[in-house]
Subunit: 109 residues, 4 copies
């Protein structure tokens, strides 16, 4: 069952999707939204691909490796952007992104 | 934080999305796929709306009530179809759908 | 064939999805991003539900009426927000939203 | 504006998404559903990634090349499966997949 095989990745994808969406929502409420524009954009990109891969894994997609490689790359980009900002939601999002990227790389190889 | 407020719903949505996708994948591998056609169709409908609502909740969507009401309805339809089949993946999917519908109704009201 | 039956709605959903995503992208590049925060949020909500419904229609979903009703409501909210801003991308987005809402209402009833 | 830059790709992605979902729906109504199981599975994979990329392009995603490369690969897989079946919806889907893969390769490079 795909859900068990990819249990660890699914957990990290879910956490990353949630962290990115929380960061997206929080950035839009910051005083200096302009400074967060890159973060808002990448949060959406990353949340969407994590959500996508989560579903694809549990439906036993034949494209695990290709999707996971792409997802890892997007997670790293989002993490690199988020870690530059001091807000707690950005720092937490960066960590979730980097952990998710690690899991994605494992299942991509 | 939306993730905490909707913790219980997010958990059920995630479980339902996973159960529906597992059922989708398993139905496609059954001997009698024709008998499972309705189940395959509704599994996809239900997995997609659960995944959608999960993301919408954690990004603090302004449309919680409307989305949750719709999701509850789709979960009930999928559960009603799945419970008619004896396969373990169908029975488990039906249960996940009904539990998810309950949570959705709570946040819809 | 669902694609022909819903041809007019699919066209408007596609245009609305594109207009919302263009507005999302453009708002993030404005000088005063803070003023556009509500618009950015609703652009994403509206783009996502339009994209969702577009796919649901062409796969012959059993939930046309419920999904279209929800989509109409989200389009109206997004249009109401966008029309308050003078940027061309906001005005064009508002128009696309209102036209899409009209089509959604037709297929919802 | 991203929508103009990628006009040709967006058109093919939309046509492919629609063809895959129509094929998905039609396969589920065939007498011999079992023979179509692989087609049903790949139709969903391909429809979902085309829909995803369509949105990503119009929101000006920074990951055009990576997403388009992946989408091309999935389109080719789906096309290869569909072209083996004589149903009109399968043959039309195969053609839409191959045309979409060509456009994706162009924007991936």
């Amino acid at each position: 069952m795909a859900q068990e095989k990819y249990q660890s990745a699914i957990k990290k994808l879910h956490e990353c999707m949630a962290a990115c969406n929380h960061c997206f929502d929080s950035c839009l409420q910051e005083d200096n939204v302009k400074m967060m524009a890159g973060c808002i954009r990448l949060d959406r990109e990353c949340a969407d691909i994590c959500s996508y891969l989560e579903q694809a894994l549990v439906r036993n997609t034949p494209f695990v490796s290709e999707l996971a490689q792409l997802c890892a790359e997007i997670c790293l980009s989002c993490g690199d952007e988020c870690k530059q900002h001091d807000h707690q939601h950005c720092q937490e999002c960066a960590q979730a992104c980097f952990e998710c990227a690690e899991e994605c790389k494992k299942i991509a190889s």
